[in-house]
Amino acid sequence: MRRAALIVLAWNRWPLTRRCLDSLLASELDATEIIMVDNGSNDATPTALAGYADRVHVVSLRNNLGFVRGMNAGIAAAQPDDDVVLLNNDLLFTQADWLGRLRDAAYAAPQNGIVGCRLLGPEAEGRVYHVGGFIEPDDLRGEQTESGHVEREVAQYPRQRRVQAIAFALAYIRRDCLQRIGGLDTAFHSYFEDTDYCLRAADVGIASIVAGAVTLRHDQHGSTQGDGGFRERLFAQSRATFGARWRERLRRNYRGDAVWHGVTRFPAEHAELARLLVRRLDARGLCMAFASSMREVADAQDRRLELAARRSIPALPGIALVCAPDAPFAQAQARHRVALGFGEWERVPEAWAQGANALDLLLVPDTFQRDAFRAAGVRIPIELVPIGVDRDYCHTAVPAPRDPQGHFVFLAVAAELARDAPERLVAAFRRAFAADAAVRLLIHIQPGRDAAAIAAALAPLWAADARIRVLDRWGFPWHQRAQLLAAADAYVCARRGGGWHAMAAEAIACGKILVATDFGSQAELVRAHGFAVAVERLVDDPAQPGLRWAESDEGALSAQLREVFERRAELVPRARAQAEVFARTCDIDVSADRLFDVLARVGALAPPRVAPTPHAPARQGQPGSGQIVVLGMHRSGTSSIAGLLARMGVWPGPEEDLLVGPDNPKGHYESGPLHGTCLRRLAAAGGDWQQPPTVAPPAAIDAFRREVASVLDVLDARRPWLIKEPRLCLIARELLPLLTRPVFVHVVRDPHEVADSLAARNGLGRAHAFALWEQYTRAAFAASRGQLRLLVDYADLLDDPVALANRLHAELHAFGIEGLLALDPAVVREWAAPPTRRARSEARDELDPAQRALWAAIKDRSILDDDALQPGSDAREANAAASAHHAFARGGH
């Protein structure tokens, strides 16, 4: 059975190593071996490690060989089939199930070869030092966060995501990836070896991933402090080596250049767009420069934006994109001139339109803005680029201090007095609620030109009203912006202006209730996802006579505030439940993809480099190890095929463990302990085989792996072996960390026959049966993607069992399974004889389009292509799960 070799490298500083080891040993370490590499220590380390000899395999090196050679020594000491986890000795394992969650990430997709995690520094208040990062060819400075800055812990980057590189303070490396690209490159003594490794891996289609579900503490170079400058010299040397190898390669990743004309400070919306999009365009292959459209004290808060601001701007750049207040479109001087614009009114100023007509393309975030520019006379092409939400920072788990008295909190933000109308909101709030109502209104006055005027306007309104709290001109780091939303229950945007406003969508993504004026860029959003406030009338903007924006109906605003408050028991949990679904449909990375595609087309960028084929274990030419997993929906013939395999000499496990039941008098070839494990796994997640759970609690996964490990330990005494249990279709992916080059045998049967059998045996309705078949089938094929796998059709067993058996034997042999017995045709026919033989039903079609397409892919075997079920397979699996759940709830009719 595959394990994980946890390799800890240490050089002196025994107290640090001891702290690391003790916390490691106290965490959940199923199926592991700890390898402690003593890198030539001359303090108490060698002697003290002897005290851990019963729990730790110690590899003692006579001299300090450096990080790379030290780690490679640990890798060499690991068992040949084990995954390896490289660990620094200044880590603290503050999360008990860290290894289980890393395993989840490593086996979530065949190409996930290298996995890191979130790392906090030593500070008590929690600072995030690593979430996976990048390196730019300009500075050759490896950054360990996407912003390049150390940030306060606000639960950012909670998801699993692909990154350019991770730091090898902690690195889970799958064995098949280690076999593909080898160990760490000894051209590096220390430093840059991790980025080099991740880039070499990417060259062969191996992805570096960060498991957002894991957060540990790392003391940051704790093991090399106080070394008299030795570290700096090593760093410089490694940097030179890395630069010689990668600098030009990284430069060639750029397909073109662009300059972004914008701001980094005020107004907030334009600054936010610069921070959100400049870094993403750079990462996608556009070498970005940044020019401030107005004189400001720059406040990039993002390394790639800072770098862009330092880059020289060519005399005639490829693309210029203007995204700045007051639409200074004339700044776009380039071969291709683009702007991303939005205004506050139903028609933008004429000067804007004139400026826009000198561009090649105008981009707007929504149809309101498109119409506003057209109404002003813009004649050039206008394309929509909806701006999504940064899900890495805006989600439902952002921490923030809440009102300890449990009041319902409405949040509003004011940056411009006339546009944001904070005084109308305060008036509406005071009209809506009695003095003793359990509500609060929190207003953040953003620092800026209008801040003093806003504070002066509001002061007489809230001074004597304890329900209204004002955050007056508090500037905070941009990465903390979602905390403002997290501190509230609802976000109110009662502005007159209709410009794009990031916080409206961010509020929904954070699980907050949105109340907003039914006007402008937020109108569609609030109508679909919130409480729209009717417009009383359109009025002139006093600063732009002739241009109209909306005065919200104060009575309607009061009414909406009251309704939200009165229905809060229903609305608050609903908003939280819908947040994730919303955020998936409104994702800033999708926006960045769209923007990049538009700019690539407009700017005629160089074609992209051909991406390497995604890595898959099955493509490495290594033979199967003799571990066979039979997958198939209930009533699909899995017992029949398992019995056939058993007759080929594949061991199903001890006789006394195998289940026999009335459904299959000849035996299920199903391990009783495995069956019980699967039952408990589904039950722990709140489901069963008829109502599969939709979530996978980490504790349930870990318990499942622990129990299955016991079963596999028994089986591994005799290979080849098989396991078979239909429920495994739903949870097979969780087995992968424990298996070594397994072969998956997918048993398929016409879903109509499956439905017939489920109706006869269990009384299941047709719709429910089909939905279950789809869910089991998708999950099973998704789990085996990238692995050695074959497909067996139950119909072929009925039609010509001998031919089927011969084909199955040949395919397993081709996969390198040794020890298979040649089958006597008489034995095969006897096995396939009734009662296993069933009457074939006539051709029917009761499937929905998605199910029909799935069955067609199975019939033509295209489902075995590694790209099948991708991209979007997670969504299809989720949809199938939802269909099964609904079908069950409806009674399956």
Partner: protein, 94 residues
């Protein structure tokens, strides 16, 4: 620069058809001017205002900084602000 001066400078600048930064630069130049020129105050002012349009970027940047409220560039963790907003509940008597 306090919270009251900035709007006043803004208003004065608009009246003179200058940007606030240009106004500060002009004020700086006027303050440095030779006292012997005080007899021709109006001409001095005219020359100073004409010169602000060609003020070097560094001068304008300093003026920009003066006009930027501290709150605009000083940043502190938001949860510190939020914690200050909510009342501290009285602790129960033991």
């Amino acid at each position: 620069m306090n919270a009251f001066d900035a709007p006043r400078i803004d208003a004065l600048a608009r009246a003179l058809e200058l940007s606030p930064r240009q106004l500060l630069v002009a004020a700086m130049r006027l303050a440095r001017a030779d006292a012997a020129d005080s007899a021709n105050e109006a001409e001095r002012r005219r020359r100073a205002l004409a010169q602000v349009c060609v003020a070097p970027p560094a001068t304008e940047a300093v003026a920009a900084l003066l006009l930027t409220p501290i709150a605009s560039y000083a940043q502190d963790d938001i949860d510190r602000a939020l914690a200050n907003l909510w009342p501290v509940l009285p602790s129960a008597d033991v």
